[in-house]
């Protein structure tokens, strides 16, 4: 009798034969439940559910997509344009009535499960505009190159997040004086298909967790959070690498030590504690966890490549943010940094929101120009014009953004 498995092997082998002109070697692997992306349906609407076609897809398994800079022009980033950084596969079956959040851990006074309804009813709700930026935003510019998704500029967004304060929930549960860190767990699954493997479990120290802007959120811009941004529940820590803001949140552990889940340790989301020469191999013990993100800005209008007349003014605008700090000054240069002019800079609506800037520029003669933007934070740290310190995994590139302009 021909077993189902044999049938699958043969069928798969035939299909792969057409695809690759290759041998049965592929089928041996496939029958254990793995479909190469070449075989998966890439047009599946589920794959980028709720997202604009304007996003740039860097990776389709797991899905990673960034926002082209000129599409980040809104004061708050719309849900369909917000970047996606998935480490694994988002949950496919989400039952809101059954979704629960467990608070536990060595330093928790007790273990408590909250339903979504309980979270919404028991605690006061808050809304803040908070910037989330991937720690690896800008990685594509590193030389020597750094491994991972090659983000250019658009792994950042600022949305209005609504939820309860993590602080209120942690205090309701209670924790001991040993409490050091919180670590999250989500309902995504590992790309290898191993159901027991935790995809990513990061977190923040207690002092960050207890800030008033640290949220357990279920709304993004007054709508449900898109599936790829963590529906139905996620953490949001403004100003820190977005990987600390766990998605599809199911559990928070109050730890008595620095959290040690996957991608907290080794070289992930860490940079050398002391500066190193480009290309240096750095031992794990010499790598330090990234906390606040650095000062940065983007020109979101106009799109690079604008051609204008010599008698025209060029109006530029964009956003600037500075991790845990505020942006104190915003400047532009049209002569490759020889001279800088001030932009008009707005105050943030709340801490951790990005700030809008604008300027009107006249050019002295026809020709090729680049408009460079440079933000300075309230501790006088500026964006560098060249790449900042090289690090093995390519994090924290906050070099100035620039656009090309031709004046005719």
């Amino acid at each position: 009798m021909q077993s189902r498995r044999t049938f699958i092997t043969k069928a798969t082998a035939t299909y792969l034969g057409t695809l690759l002109g290759a041998e049965i070697v592929f089928a041996n692997r496939l029958m254990e439940g793995i479909v190469p992306v070449a075989l998966s349906n890439q047009d599946d609407p589920y794959s980028l559910k709720g997202k604009s076609k304007g996003l740039t897809l860097l990776n389709d398994k797991p899905i990673n997509a960034e926002t082209p800079v000129h599409l980040l022009d809104d004061k708050t980033t719309p849900n369909d344009l917000f970047f996606v950084r998935n480490n694994g596969i988002p949950p496919t079956e989400i039952n809101l009535d059954k979704w629960s959040l467990t608070i536990d851990g060595e330093a928790a006074n007790k273990t408590i499960n909250f339903t979504l309804k309980e979270l919404k009813e028991k605690f006061k709700q808050y809304s803040y505009q908070l910037v989330l930026e991937c720690g690896g935003n800008g990685r594509s510019e590193f030389s020597p190159p750094a491994k991972g998704n090659q983000w250019t500029l658009g792994a950042v967004g600022c949305a209005l997040w609504t939820g309860v304060r993590l602080k209120d929930v942690l205090e309701y549960v209670g924790y001991s004086s040993e409490a050091t860190y919180i670590g999250y767990y989500g309902k995504d699954t590992h790309v290898s298909g191993d159901p027991d493997k935790v995809v990513i479990s990061r977190g923040v120290p207690m002092n960050k967790a207890l800030e008033e802007h640290s949220l357990i959120a279920w709304k993004m811009n007054n709508e449900d959070i898109p599936l790829h941004n963590g529906y139905p529940l996620r953490l949001v820590f403004g100003g820190w690498p977005a990987s600390t803001s766990g998605k599809w949140l199911k559990r928070i552990s109050i730890r008595d030590r620095i959290h040690d889940g996957p991608k907290m340790t080794g070289q992930s989301y860490r940079v050398p504690c002391k500066p190193v020469a480009p290309g240096t191999k750095v031992d794990n013990e010499d790598m330090c966890i990234i906390e606040s993100m650095p000062v940065k800005s983007l020109i979101t209008y106009p799109k690079t490549g604008a051609m204008i007349g010599i008698n025209d003014s060029l109006n530029i605008r964009g956003h600037a943010w500075a991790g845990e700090l505020e942006v104190g000054k915003m400047e532009y240069s049209i002569d490759f940094g020889a001279t800088w002019e001030n932009c008009v800079l707005e105050n943030p609506p709340n801490k951790y929101a990005w700030q809008q800037f604008e300027a009107s520029i006249r050019f002295p003669k026809t020709g090729y120009y680049e408009v460079w933007a440079r933000a300075t934070d309230t501790q006088n740290q500026q964006q560098p014009m060249i790449l900042p310190g090289w690090n093995p995994r390519g994090y924290l590139n906050n070099a100035c953004h620039r656009i090309a302009v031709k004046v005719q």
């Binding site: 695809l19 690759l20 290759a22 692997r29 070449a38 990776n59 190159p145 191993d194």
Partner: protein, 166 residues
């Protein structure tokens, strides 16, 4: 006045050929749909990493497998986006088992750098021991996806110029 249709031998042959093609097309669609269903349910089967690694470890580097010409466009293997080169079949089988080929093709590294990534995936991401296949895979990656020197800041590239109305 309309012409009465005539069926000479040549036209009849064409008609028959057309019908045959259409039937073949429908059959092909059925095959694809059936196969997709099989693959879909196959994905639902329990995951078995141990068996998987055992199977892969048993295999040895094979002769270079020819890629059908119709799947190559400008030196790119169109189903995956990989550059066509020696041992590509092995790279596809190994690297796309878990993640997209895009994660490979967007990265650049020396042979040593690619080796480090493989070790990292073995230590943390369930990648199996590649055995004899490791060397040809590393050679392919280092040859086709090696680093380019870009310095501390590249000039702006691929600018699409457009007129901006004031």
């Amino acid at each position: 006045m309309m012409n009465k249709p005539t069926y000479d031998k040549e036209k009849l042959a064409l008609l028959l050929a057309n019908t045959a093609l259409k039937i073949a097309g429908v059959l092909a669609i059925f095959t694809i749909v059936g196969l997709s269903t099989v693959l879909y349910f196959n994905v639902m089967k329990p995951y078995n990493q141990k068996l998987l690694s055992q199977q892969v470890a048993k295999q040895s580097p094979k002769d270079i497998v020819a890629i059908p010409k119709e799947l190559i466009k400008n030196g790119i293997h169109t189903p995956t986006g990989f550059k066509v080169g020696d041992h590509l079949h092995m790279v596809v089988a190994t690297c796309t088992a878990c993640h997209s080929a895009k994660l490979v093709t967007q990265n650049r590294a020396t042979k040593e750098g690619w080796k480090d990534m493989i070790v990292w995936m073995q230590e943390t991401q369930n990648l199996w021991d590649l055995g004899e296949n490791e060397e040809p895979i590393l050679s392919y990656l280092a040859k086709h996806y090696g680093p380019e020197e870009t310095g501390r800041r590249k000039p702006l590239e691929n600018i699409e110029w457009y007129s901006l109305d004031p």
